[in-house]
């Protein structure tokens, strides 16, 4: 029973914070040291993160490396961490991006360097915490806290129009998540009597499960069968859709799904390279992760009802995002809109509720993190050299930057999902899952259009930027990537190949979560083969202390005043 058996997740999450403290002690003039310490911290975190990833036993319990202590109990909260397959994968992605982001910013960020790295480290902690939280409110706290450092990243180190973008990003997300907060508290209350209810994911889910099954039975039963419902099921029947809507809105904004996506282009365009990388790489996944973990399993019936609608939005997102790209002149904006398109695939895969689709969706989350992250990274290098985002200001730079071009083209192929790269597997699985699902065939067909458009806009951009003759004199003497930049890019390219050719190690860890997700999501589906209970119920460790979560505060006898 070593220290790490219990605390590994804590270490992974709070290590960046510790290093933030170290950085805080440094004088803000010591740029080199600040960078070095941050980098070391991120590397260590990567090491621990990888360790955690490999500790995760695919065949083991759903949630592993759990850690739970009482925290703010009379309010039904406990400090509870744990990883399932999906969370582990996303956690790996997060810690993987960490050091690279630092490397990417070494020359990009020239002022207020100490603050910048502080923000990075804090951001890392919040993201990891959100991924590992097993307590809904804990998740919410991290989910919200995440906004602050990112807001600063965009607003302080961003491009010319950064303030607007930062505030827009913040408020956009806040509105959604605040409504979700109401829903969280509401579902906490309806979930059970004072003694048994808790914000803990497991408790919450298990409390709702039976009612959800009843509700599903009557919803898919004859007309008006739900009138006879009582208790929790009845409440869910009346308010479930509202609560789901609140959750869905919050996460849909984060994803972002059409039509609540307009914060993304601004944020991406204005953010510094680090901001864009993390935003695309990890933050957007919080939305899909939220759907996967909370919104859909907690309210399967409402989700079932809303599924066609959401799926339509997802497909619109895919095609619409791609079309937007064709209309852009600004490279970063194009990449941002391509994210909208890619995340549309993730959502579609989720909503297909087939194991292929869900697996593909999860894998697509990782792919997008890598390919789009790399695209932003590479463009960041270019931007450092030329300080313009317009395609028309480039052209023909393949001549002067061959290595850079090669890297960019490889990533581009990954982003347009050429077989052999990681992108293909995710996209293929998502589409197949969609075709296999109970959604009409049209969804799959339209989504597949993205394959064409994707190639169209990405290659168009590559063409305009890299090929043809050099049209601007400034571009004649651009220097090619230096060693640091190559080192920063290499991991991405390696991963593109590795994840494309041997995805099994990654898929294996995702698979168990997928099965459970599908089982839980299809609780609400008509005529879904009811999965075994051990697939549905969430098994988590109970509080070590005897105190039950959410002990009701019993009122004492009124004051003896008059006798």
């Amino acid at each position: 029973m070593s220290f790490f058996d219990t605390h590994l997740l804590n270490v992974v999450i709070y290590l960046p914070l510790v290093f933030a403290a170290l950085v805080l002690m440094l004088p803000s003039t010591e740029h080199g040291q600040v960078r070095a310490i941050t980098f070391v911290g991120m590397l260590l975190d990567l090491a621990f993160g990888v360790w955690a990833y490999f500790r995760f036993e695919p065949s083991g319990a759903e949630f592993q490396m759990e850690y739970r202590v009482p925290w703010f109990q009379q309010f039904g909260m406990s400090y509870h961490l744990g990883l399932d397959g999906l969370a582990a994968s996303l956690l790996l992605l997060t810690v993987f991006l960490g050091p690279l982001v630092v490397l990417a910013s070494t020359t990009y960020i020239s002022h207020r360097i100490k603050e910048f790295h502080l923000a990075l480290l804090v951001l890392q902690t919040t993201m990891l915490g959100a991924l590992a939280s097993m307590d809904v409110l804990l998740f919410y706290i991290f989910f919200e806290a995440m906004l602050i450092p990112m807001y600063l990243l965009v607003g302080v180190w961003g491009a010319e129009d950064r303030r607007m973008a930062a505030v827009k990003f913040f408020l956009y997300t806040l509105v959604g998540s605040l409504l979700m907060l109401v829903a969280i508290v509401a579902v906490y209350f309806v979930s059970g009597a004072p003694g048994v209810r808790s914000f803990d994911y497991g408790t919450l889910y298990n409390n709702l499960l039976a009612a959800n099954q009843q509700l599903a039975a009557c919803t898919n039963g004859p007309e008006g069968a739900c009138a006879s419902l009582t208790g929790l099921a009845a409440t869910l029947h009346t308010y479930g859709p509202w609560m789901f809507a609140a959750f869905a809105l919050a996460f849909a904004i984060k994803v972002p799904m059409w039509p609540v996506h307009t914060w993304l282009p601004d944020a991406h365009v204005q953010a510094p390279v680090a901001g864009s990388m993390i935003l695309a790489g990890v933050m957007l996944k919080m939305g899909t992760y939220g759907f996967w973990r909370f919104a859909i399993p907690l309210f399967p019936v409402a989700a079932q009802a809303a599924r066609p609608f959401l799926a339509v939005l997802a497909v619109i997102g895919i095609v619409y995002g791609a079309l937007m790209c064709l209309a852009q002149r600004d490279i970063k904006k194009l990449i941002a809109y391509s994210s909208v398109s890619h995340l549309g695939y993730c959502m579609l895969g989720l909503l297909a509720v087939t194991s292929e689709g869900a697996t593909g969706s999860a894998y697509q989350m990782l792919n997008h993190g890598i390919s789009t992250g790399a695209l932003f990274l590479l463009f960041g290098f270019l931007y450092e050299r030329r300080h313009t985002r317009l395609m028309s200001d480039y052209g023909g730079i393949a001549k002067v930057m061959p290595v850079f071009t090669a890297a960019f083209v490889i990533i581009t192929f990954s982003s347009v999902a050429v077989p052999g790269t990681n992108g293909f597997i995710g996209e293929f699985l998502v589409l197949m899952g969609t075709f296999k699902s109970t959604l009409p065939l049209g969804f799959g067909a339209f989504a597949t259009l993205g394959v064409i458009l994707g190639a169209a806009y990405m290659l168009w951009m590559v063409q305009k930027v890299f090929f043809g003759g050099i049209t601007h004199r400034e571009n004649q003497h651009l220097r090619d990537m230096n060693l640091r930049e190559m080192l920063t890019t290499a991991p991405f390219i390696v991963l593109v190949a590795v994840m494309g050719l041997m995805p099994q190690p990654f898929l294996e860890r995702i698979a168990p979560s997928t099965e459970r997700y599908v089982a839980r999501a299809s609780v609400g589906a008509p005529g879904a083969t009811q999965a075994k209970d051990d697939q549905l119920r969430v098994e988590v460790m109970s509080l070590p202390s005897t105190a039950a979560a959410a002990r009701p505060s019993v009122p004492a006898a009124p004051l003896a005043v008059r006798e």
């Binding site: 925290w71 703010f72 109990q73 009379q74 309010f75 207020r112 603050e115 409110l137 919410y140 706290i141 991290f142 919200e144 806290a145 906004l147 602050i148 807001y151 600063l152 607003g155 302080v156 950064r162 303030r163 930062a166 505030v167 913040f170 408020l171 806040l174 509105v175 605040l178 409504l179 907060l181 109401v182 508290v185 509401a186 906490y188 209350f189 309806v190 979930s191 059970g192 009597a193 004072p194 209810r197 409440t235 308010y239 509202w242 009701p552 505060s553 019993v554 009122p555 004492a556 009124p558 004051l559 005043v561 008059r562």
Partner: protein
């Protein structure tokens, strides 16, 4: 005519108030013997010490069993003790931020602190009083002191104007409150809350008109003190005109005490009337206050005034908690003002104690955040511009992150806390209030609350934007540092963050305070 024999046990509960009063008197007396030029640094120290002492005593009292004091004119219970704690905190922070403020203006005089102490004594007593005349007297004690404090600075037109408005409207409102009291007295024949319950229930069958109108008038009186829309109009002007530390004290202490008394009175009076009335009353007030407060703060460039509006908005959230106290039975439908049948089988008394807990925690949270924010304002304002009213312009905050990273961080913490963003205490306290409201089914109102607080985030963020994302304005003279201000900042920052992350112990007390409420 036999005098009641009072034992020392009757005076023990008053200890915090007594400490403050004694300290005040010491200050006044010592001031007499000081030459105009003598250093007066000790005064702030003494005030802070008194505040600390009374706070400590209050904490100690929190574990005393609930008891009547002075034949039921007052009551000692964790609720009142916790409020005393809140008041002492507010007093301490205000006094700390006053040090530099007064020195800058060469207005250090003992009566300033003495008045602060008197006001705080009044607040802490108000939290305890359970008899209408006592309540009235205490309200007047704290009001009169604050009237004087508001007009304390004699330079310029603003302080006197603020004082005048505050005074006229304050007197007006207390007259109204008093009239309400009289009506209730007429209906019940007593002014003690505890004795009122039964006559009220009888009156309900007799002629409830007196009771109802009286209740409305009393509510109006309190609504003025807590600055609830539409009784809020004085707030921005007075907060702007008053010396910033005084503003801090008002926004923290006065509001807290008034809320405490409001809750006490209405939990009792409410028993004597159809619960629908107070629910409607406070739900409406909450709705108006939250929405209007936030909306009106949005266009403000004057930070001090913006904070005034924000304090109105916060009163709104607190009123939401108050409204949650008066939900008797959740209705069926989903309306904004009335409760919907969401409640998960929580017994109403439990829900009620949760609501009380939420209110108390919110008061503490708000005290720290607001006092800290005002301390920062007082550190940044330039008195040359006071007449123009630009002394508190957002520009003063531009580039603060480069000039004083520590200050900027602290202010950011306060702003986020006021905006209710985790991981700050502001989030936790809002959470408790919302939880209470949702628990009893005030979902519609809660949704309004969160939406308005999202709107609120905008103007809080704007301060952050100025501090972090705007360049330092050229010709910005260096900020002189001051131990008092910095102490205030450090204390409140630490509190804001710690209470946000580890609310455990405080909420344990609150569980007590909320439940062991003398009802």
């Amino acid at each position: 005519m036999n005098l009641p024999n009072l034992t020392l046990a009757d005076f023990l509960p008053l200890l915090p108030a007594i400490i403050m009063v004694v300290a005040a008197s010491v200050l006044l007396l010592s001031e007499v013997f000081l030459s105009a030029t003598a250093s007066r640094g000790y005064q702030a120290v003494l005030t802070v010490v008194a505040a600390a002492a009374s706070g400590a005593v209050a904490v100690g009292l929190m574990f005393e069993p609930p008891q009547e004091v002075f034949l039921g004119f007052g009551v000692l219970d964790p609720f009142s003790s916790f409020l005393t704690l809140v008041v002492s905190v507010g007093l301490g922070l205000a006094a700390l931020s006053a040090v530099g403020f007064l020195r800058k203006r060469g207005a250090e005089r003992g009566e300033f602190y003495a008045l602060m102490l008197f006001a705080s004594a009044g607040m802490s007593l108000l939290a305890m009083s359970t008899e209408f005349i006592t309540i009235f007297v205490n309200i007047e004690i704290l009001s009169i002191a604050t009237y004087a404090l508001t007009a304390y600075l004699r330079r310029g037109t603003r302080p006197s104007e603020a004082g005048f408005k505050y005074f006229i409207l304050g007197a007006f409102s207390s007259a109204i409150l008093l009239y309400g009291t009289a009506l209730l007295y007429g209906a019940t024949g007593t002014t003690k809350l505890n004795d009122m319950v039964i006559p009220l229930q009888q009156a309900l069958h007799g002629n409830p008109a007196l009771v109802y109108v009286g209740a409305v008038l009393i509510a109006a009186g309190f609504a003025f003190k807590v600055a609830a829309v539409p009784f809020h109009m004085w707030t921005p002007d007075v907060y702007e005109g008053a010396p910033t530390p005084v503003t801090a004290l008002m926004s923290a202490g006065v509001k807290a005490a008034a809320f405490a008394s409001l809750v006490r009175v209405f939990l009792t009076v409410g028993k004597g009337m159809d619960p629908k009335l107070p629910l409607m009353l406070f739900a409406t007030l909450a709705l108006l206050t939250m929405v209007a407060g936030n909306l009106m703060a949005i266009p403000q460039r004057n930070v001090k005034r913006m904070l005034a509006y924000s304090s109105i908005a916060h009163a709104g959230y607190l009123l939401l908690g108050v409204a949650a106290l008066f939900v008797a039975a959740p209705g069926e439908s989903f309306r904004v003002l009335s409760a919907s049948s969401l409640s998960g089988g929580t017994p109403l008394d439990v829900a009620r104690s949760d609501a009380l807990r939420g209110i108390l925690y919110y008061l503490l949270a708000y005290t720290f955040s607001a006092a800290g924010a005002f301390a920062m304002v007082s550190a940044l304002e330039r008195r040359e511009d006071e007449e123009k009213g630009t002394a508190w312009d957002l520009e003063r905050f531009a580039g603060l992150a480069q000039r004083r990273p520590g200050y900027a961080f602290a202010m950011a913490a306060f702003m986020l806390s006021l905006g209710g963003i985790p991981p700050t205490v502001g989030f936790m306290s809002k959470l408790l209030i919302f939880q209470a409201a949702i628990d009893v089914g005030l979902v519609g109102l809660t949704i309004v609350a969160v939406l308005s607080s999202a709107a609120g985030a905008y103007y809080y963020l704007r301060v952050v934007v100025y501090m972090f994302m705007h360049p330092v304005p050229e010709g910005a003279q260096p900020l002189e540092r001051n131990w008092g201000t910095e102490a205030a900042l450090v204390i409140s920052t630490v509190a804001v963050v710690l209470l946000g992350i580890l609310p455990g112990h405080v909420t344990d007390w609150l569980a007590q305070a909320g439940t062991l409420f003398g009802q």
